[in-house]
Structure formats: C-alpha cells, structure tokens
C-alpha cells in the first residue's frame, strides 16, 4: 500500500474509533445520569421511582431519629419546599439555611435520599453574589 493511502486509512480508522467512543460516552452519560431539580420543579413533575438531584436550602426545624433525618429543602430564592428523608451520617456543615445537594427518589409523599449522596456547600467559601 502506498504511504499516502496508508495514512488516509489510518486517519479514517482513528476518526471512526473516536466517533464511536464519543457516541458511547454520550449514550452512557444520558442513560446513567440524574436530572438536577429545584424543590418547586420536583413538586410539579417528579415521577415515582426516578432519581433526581435535588438542590436547595435546608429549612429550619429538621428532626433526627437515630440515623434517620427528616428535613425540608426549599428553593434557593423562594419558600416552596419538599420533605426529604435521609438515612446515614450528615456532613459536618449540615445546618438550617445551608445549601445542600442530594440524590432523591419519590416514595409516596416523601423524597428519600440515596445513601452517601448528601453534600453540603462549604460555608467558608460560599458568599452571595455581590451586587
């Protein structure tokens, strides 16, 4: 095979492999990811059994019983909130008013947090936008 043709074949093979890998990555990503939702979005459209990533602020007055914590998460700017039941250790910075991210699944009227999915924003670095 002449060198120019060989180079073309190599380029086509490499590009095809790259396109295949990229397609596999895109497909896997969408099929295995969870949608990020605010409490108000979750209230209006959550389907039972499907996993969502809930983002919002912890409402004051959460209750702990053993390793289970029941709390409400509200919109960042707004008062609409959803009830969350989370089993497991809470991160150290977990407090009322703090921003949290947690993977949840709708079970009845409650959103059940997945194990070890709860993260709280580090308050040392979180500052509101300066206007």
């Amino acid at each position: 095979m002449d060198p120019a043709r060989k180079r073309t074949v190599r380029l086509v093979v490499a590009l095809s492999a790259a396109v295949l890998l990229a397609a596999a990555l895109v497909y896997t990503s969408f099929s295995a990811s969870s949608e990020a939702r605010s409490p108000s979005q979750l209230l209006s459209s959550a389907q039972p059994g499907k996993t969502y990533q809930l983002t919002g602020k912890v409402v004051a007055g959460y209750q702990r019983s053993g390793t289970t914590t029941n709390f409400r998460v509200r919109d960042r700017s707004g008062n609409i909130s959803v009830p969350v039941r989370y089993v497991g250790a809470l991160p150290d910075p977990f407090r009322a008013g703090r921003e949290v991210i947690v993977d949840v699944r709708k079970e009845g009227g409650v959103f059940v947090g997945e194990k070890d999915s709860l993260v709280t924003k580090c308050p040392s670095k979180f500052t509101a936008e300066k206007t």
Binding site: L25, S29, A36, A89, D92, R95, D116, T120, S124, K125
Partner: protein
C-alpha cells in the same frame, strides 16, 4: 490598607509596562527592552509579595479594620490558623495566586536570562499578561484591602472550623504553586510558537518547572485527599467533586506531556502533540481556578456565586483561541523529524500512555461539565454521580498502570522477540504471583481490583529487574559494593531512575485505591453508652461519652467538644481505646441566643483513626444534642434578660456563660443520649499515602540536577567569564 491597594495598582502598571517592553524588545531586536521586560517580572514579584505580607500582617495582628480579616479571622482563631486564613478567602487566594505566579516566573526568567533569547521575551509577555489579569481582578473586582464598613468590631467571624487543619498551611499553596508553575511551560510554548523556534530547547529548559508543577499539583491533590479523609467526617478521600476534578485534569495532561516530551527530545517526534498538550495544561489550570470561583457548577469547595466568572471565561476563551491559532499556523514547522518505526516500541507505548491520559482527562472534563452540556442540549441539567465516574475511569486507570510497567521495559524504535523475552518474563512472573496471592486472600470477588493488583505487581517487578541489572553492571564495571553501586547507578541517571520510582509509587497508590474502594466495610449505627457493635471483623464498645468546654488563649470561649471513648478489638488482639468527638463552634448569627449560638454554629468531626498497613479503623460520632434543647433555650432567656438590663460586665458575662456551657457539657456526659456513629474499616488506605511519599522521592530524584549537567553549567559559566575577561583591557 492604602499601601496594599497601592501595591496592587503598581503591580497592574508593571504588568502593562512589562508586556509592552518585552514585545517591543523582541520585535525591534533591542535587548535592553527585553531585559527591562524581564526586570518588570522581578518588580511584580516584589510588589505582590509586599501586598501579600501587608495582608498577612493584618491577619496575624487581628486588624479588624480590614473587612477581609473581620470576615475570615477572629481573636480566638489560633495564630497558626490566622496565618493560613489569608487564603481561605476569595480575595486573599487571588493575591496568593499573583504572588506565586510572579515569584515562579521570576525564577524561570532569571534561570534563562542568557538562554532562549528569541523565546523568552514573548514568554515574559504571556506571564505578565496572566499576572496582569489577576492584578485587574484584585484592583477592580475582589480587593483584599477593603475597609470594614462602620465601626471596627472587637471580634471577627473566625476561620471556618473545617479549615482548622494543618493541611490548610500547605495544601492550598501547593495547589496554587502547581497551577502557577504550569503557566511557565505554557508561556514558553507560546513564545516558541510565536518565535517559530520549535526544536526541543524550550522543553529542556522548562522541564524542571514542568516537573515541579506536576509534583506540587500532585502533592496538593494527595494532601487534599488526606485532609478530606481525616477531617470531613464522611470517610472518603475522593468524591469526584468538580473542584477536585479541576485539579486532576491539568495534572493528567501534565503527566502526558512529561512523557511525550521525552520523545520529542530523543527523536524529534510529536511536536504538535507536545505543543497542544502543554497549551491545554495551561488552559486547564486556569479552568480549575475558574471553576472554584465562578459558581457555575455545584461543588462543595466552590466559592459560590461571584462576579469573577465572566473575566475568567474571557481569559479562557483568549487562551484557547490563541493556542489553536498558534498550533494551526505553525503546523508546517511542527512536522515530525522521524516516523513511528513499530507499534512494538517504547515510542508507541508512550503514545498509548498519552492517549489514555488524555482520554481520562476528556472523560473527567465531560463528567464535570455534563450538567452544563446536558442543559444546553435538553433544557434540563443532568448530573453524573461518583459511580458513573468510577465506571468510566477505572478501566482507563488499569490500562495506564499496565502501560507504566511496559514503558520502561520495551526497547526504543523496535522491540524484538528476544528483547520482549529478556525483559518481560520476570515482571510478568511477579504480576502472576501477586494475582495468585490476591486470589488466595479472597480478592476474587472484585475482578477490577484483582487486575489492578496484578498490573501493579508487574510494574514493581519491572522496575526491580531494571535496578538489579543496573547494579550488577555497575558491580562488574566499577567493582562497587551493592549499596554504593545502587547509589551511583541512580546518581548517573537521576531522571530515569527517579521516573521509575514515580511509577512504583503510583502503582502503590493505585493498589491502595483499588483495595480501599473495593473491600471497605462501612456502617452508620446508633449506640448508647455500654452498647457494642461488630463491623468488618472489629468489636466496638461505646465505653463513655466525653464533653469539655475549650477556651482560646485570650480567655474567650472557643468551642464545646462532645465525644465518645470507644474500645476497639479485632480477633485476638488486645483492645485499644479510640477517641472521637465533634467540636461545636459558636455562630455569629445575630438572631441566635448567647447559649444556642454554640449549638447552631459550625461543627467539625475529629476522626478516631487507627491506621495500619493492612487496614484502617475509622470512626466519627454525631452526638444527639436535642435533649439539651430546653436548657439551652432557658440559658438564652436568662442571658438575654441580663444583657437587656445591662447587669453584667463583659468579663462577668464571659465567666457566667462559661459556667452555663460547662453545666450543659457536664449534663451531656452524665446522662448521655444515644449517639450516631459512622464506622469504616478500610483496607490498605495507608498505601495511598505511602505511595505518594514514594512518588515524592522519585520526583525529587528526577528533579535534582545530574552531576554532568552541573559540570556543563560550571564549564559554560567559566568559558563565558574567560570570554568576557579576554575582551576587557588589563
């Protein structure tokens, strides 16, 4: 404060002048302007260091007239942490960035002041451009020298308790050093492309800085992982958080560059690839800084919403567009001098290793930015969880470890069957032996971990074989005893053997990661004093609760510690006492009462840790403070009434508050409610930290100048002096 602000304005002026002087000097060929541009970098280092020291002094003496000191420090913050609080803020960390960038740039430009004459002026302009960008942010967007609004308070908010860890002194400066040092090869690559001086000279001269950047960034990442493991109270060391990923991406492309640069140096190949890699690494380093500061992605570590996102985006766009333009327009000069002779060669192994590293970086980039990409495509944000990251990266990491074993063993240009047989039999044998051992120890349930162990054995076997052969050869040639032969072998080729040691260290790190993530036992459990539980072969008894009030050296109340003494035993071993506690720091929230602020503020876990080569025992406690609520509220009412009546002096109030809190702590210890514990038994975590130390040693060996290089420099300096003196009339 005024002096600090003035320093930053002068720094901005210096950057603008230096860029102009360097570019004019390079274009006109007037070396005095080039030298002036270089001196501008030294001056930038001087003024930014002065600004940094002014801010540092304000933190150390708790000068609350500085708004930044008020919001990030307090008189109860220990002096060690007051020193580190400077870079806990957005503004302070930007100033640290500028200071480190200017210091490292000065060092590089001083080292190359008589070399790379065509490239250095453009590199100087790029470095000053980056410095100027940070100076603009510090002058116009995030000034660290703002005055506190209103009367100067007697006390500040304090450093976040989560940041009160010895790593705070070294982890951020290491990460920032890594990021800023990667600016050096980036700038010199741009200089080489602009000046069209595209041989391997710029790679050779910037190599110590690239390696140091790689070393600092890597150590910063490991220290962050260690900090997370021992302080954050969740038991992990890596969470695939966007900010963690942001530090890993430039490290991966930097690793790829360190390997592929060898091929350009030795065989004049991969010039486009190398230029692209080093430019991408520079852009990724800025991208990491952007991610922490823009609030664009949800991250536990991010600074949150701020106004810095747009300037960073503009800089990243400029750097990317400029890099693409330079590589595209210089493509004809970047043509390889040789072609790949065979797929069975060291060059091919290095190339494959590069592809895997870049693929890892692409996958991590994709996962990190997937929320934004998916939102653009579908209108909804989708996110990756850690399991997805693991699924995509673990196979690539396994291939990477295998290639790091193959690289040192395979011949340059073309490997023969004899070469393969001679070099691969022993390492493969070691890999198979490790595989058999792991199977015998019951690791068969996790094939991915099993393969990783075997490949790590192969890497160690290969490096061991190379060392044994080298030592044997030295003994035959120089008749040296084994220890001396080993030292002289490494001394004569520090780069090679330093690199081998880094490979061994990384293999050990990967063994630790594979074992601890595959075979850990974790349990969240509620226990009352006297209760027992079994986790991962350990019997754990909750012996007694502990409670104490801690005052700062100035007498102010600093925190309450509520904890637990646990008796821990495994098999026939003698039981040992392990202590864990949670520290509660007072909040400064104006709506909270004087007593309840101690229970509604920040809290941090002090992990009870028994680390060992085989496994770590790790435990944290979350005390239930609800039983104290009624007494806390009563205390609030009493103190609020007394405050309104003005019945107490500050000293009396502090004393009485101390007594009240001591009473509460004592009541918790006497009549403790059940507490929640997280117990983790994790095998071989210590191997990660030990592997990192081996990597550190290897990198230091590779960085140390070889005696021949020192000799060459001394000879060159002597020749230059003789030349100069010969021209000077006696």
């Amino acid at each position: 404060m005024v002096a600090g602000r003035a320093c930053l304005i002068v720094a901005l002026g210096i950057c603008l002048y230096g860029i102009g002087a360097s570019v004019y000097g390079a274009r006109s060929g007037r070396r005095e302007w080039v030298a002036s541009g270089r001196r501008a970098v030294y001056a930038l280092a001087g003024v930014s260091l002065v600004a940094f020291l002014i801010l540092q002094a304000a933190f150390l003496r708790s000068d609350f007239s500085f708004a930044l000191v008020t919001s990030h420090s307090s008189t109860t913050t220990p002096a060690f942490y007051r020193a580190t609080a400077v870079w806990s803020s957005q503004e302070g960390s930007l100033l640290l960035w500028l200071t480190l960038l200017s210091l490292w740039s000065s060092l590089m430009l001083f080292a190359t002041r008589r070399r790379l004459r065509e490239i250095a002026p453009y590199a100087t302009a790029v470095l000053l451009g980056l410095g100027g960008f940070f100076a603009i942010l510090l002058v116009f967007y995030a000034s660290p020298f703002e005055r506190t609004i209103g009367p100067v308070p007697a006390e500040g908010v304090g450093l976040n308790p989560l940041l009160r860890h010895p790593s705070m002194m070294i982890h951020p400066p290491m990460l920032y050093s890594g990021y800023t040092l990667f600016a050096v090869p980036f700038a010199f690559a741009v200089g080489a492309l602009v000046a069209r001086r595209l041989n391997a000279d710029w790679i050779r001269h910037t190599r110590p800085f690239t390696l140091t950047a790689w070393f600092f960034l890597g150590m910063g990442i490991v220290l962050g992982a260690r900090w997370s493991y021992s302080e954050l109270g969740w038991g992990g060391y890596w969470a695939w958080d966007p900010v963690e990923n942001a530090s890993l991406m430039p490290w991966l492309t930097g690793t790829a560059f360190l390997h592929s640069a060898m091929i350009q140096e030795k065989r004049g190949m991969l010039k486009v690839w190398n230029a692209s890699l080093v430019l991408a690494t520079g852009v990724l380093a800025i991208l990491g800084t952007f991610l922490v500061r823009s609030g664009i992605l949800e991250s536990i570590h991010a600074f949150g919403a701020s106004t810095l996102g747009v300037p960073f985006l503009v800089l990243i766009a400029l750097m990317t567009a400029g890099s693409v333009y330079l590589v595209a327009t210089r493509a004809p000069q970047l043509r390889a001098e040789h072609r790949l002779d065979s797929l069975l060669s060291r060059e091919a192994a290095f190339l494959l290793n590069n592809l895997v590293l870049v693929l890892l970086c692409v996958v991590i980039w994709w996962g990190t930015f997937f929320p934004l990409i998916s939102e653009a495509l579908t209108g909804h944000r989708h996110t990756f969880g850690p399991p997805m990251f693991d699924k995509l990266t673990v196979p690539l990491a396994i291939v990477l470890v295998l290639l790091s074993g193959i690289g040192p063993l395979i011949a340059w240009r073309r490997a023969t069957v004899a070469n393969l047989r001679r070099n691969f039999v022993v390492p493969v044998g070691v890999g198979v032996a490790v595989l058999a051992l792991a199977l015998a120890l019951g690791a068969g349930s996790r094939p991915d971990a099993l393969i990783m162990f075997a490949f790590a054995g192969f890497v160690v076997g290969g490096v061991g074989q190379e060392l044994v052969r080298g030592v044997r050869a030295r003994r035959v040639m120089a008749r040296e005893p084994v220890p001396l032969a080993l030292v002289s072998l490494v001394r004569r080729n520090r780069r090679r053997y330093g690199g081998y040691l880094v490979h061994v260290g990384m293999a050990v790190v990967f063994v630790g990661i594979a074992a601890s993530s595959s075979f850990a036992h974790e349990r969240d459990v509620q226990l009352s004093a006297g209760d027992s539980v079994r986790v991962g072969g350990y019997t754990i008894d909750y012996v007694r609760p502990t409670a104490k009030l801690v005052a700062a050296p100035n007498g102010r109340l600093e925190r309450i510690d509520l904890g637990a003494d646990m008796r821990v035993a495994r098999g026939g071993e003698a039981p040992r006492l392990v202590h864990t506690e949670r520290s509660y720091f007072p909040s400064v929230g104006p709506m909270l009462g004087p007593v309840s602020r101690f229970f509604e503020g920040e809290s941090t876990s002090e992990v009870g840790l028994r680390a060992g080569l085989e496994r770590d025992f790790w435990i944290t406690v979350a005390p239930d403070t609800q039983r104290l609520d009624a007494r806390v509220k009563e205390g609030d009412r009493v103190f609020t009434r007394a405050d309104k009546a003005g019945a107490l002096t500050d000293t009396e109030r502090n004393e009485l508050l101390g007594q009240a809190l001591s009473g509460l702590a004592g009541s918790y210890a006497k009549n403790p409610p059940a507490a929640t514990f997280r117990v983790l038994v994790s095998p071989m975590v210590t191997w990660i930290w030990l592997g990192a130390i081996v990597v550190l040693l290897g990198a230091l060996i590779a960085l140390w100048p070889s005696p021949r290089a020192v000799g060459r420099r001394v000879t060159a300096a002597y020749a230059a002096r003789v030349g100069r003196e010969a021209r000077v009339p006696a």
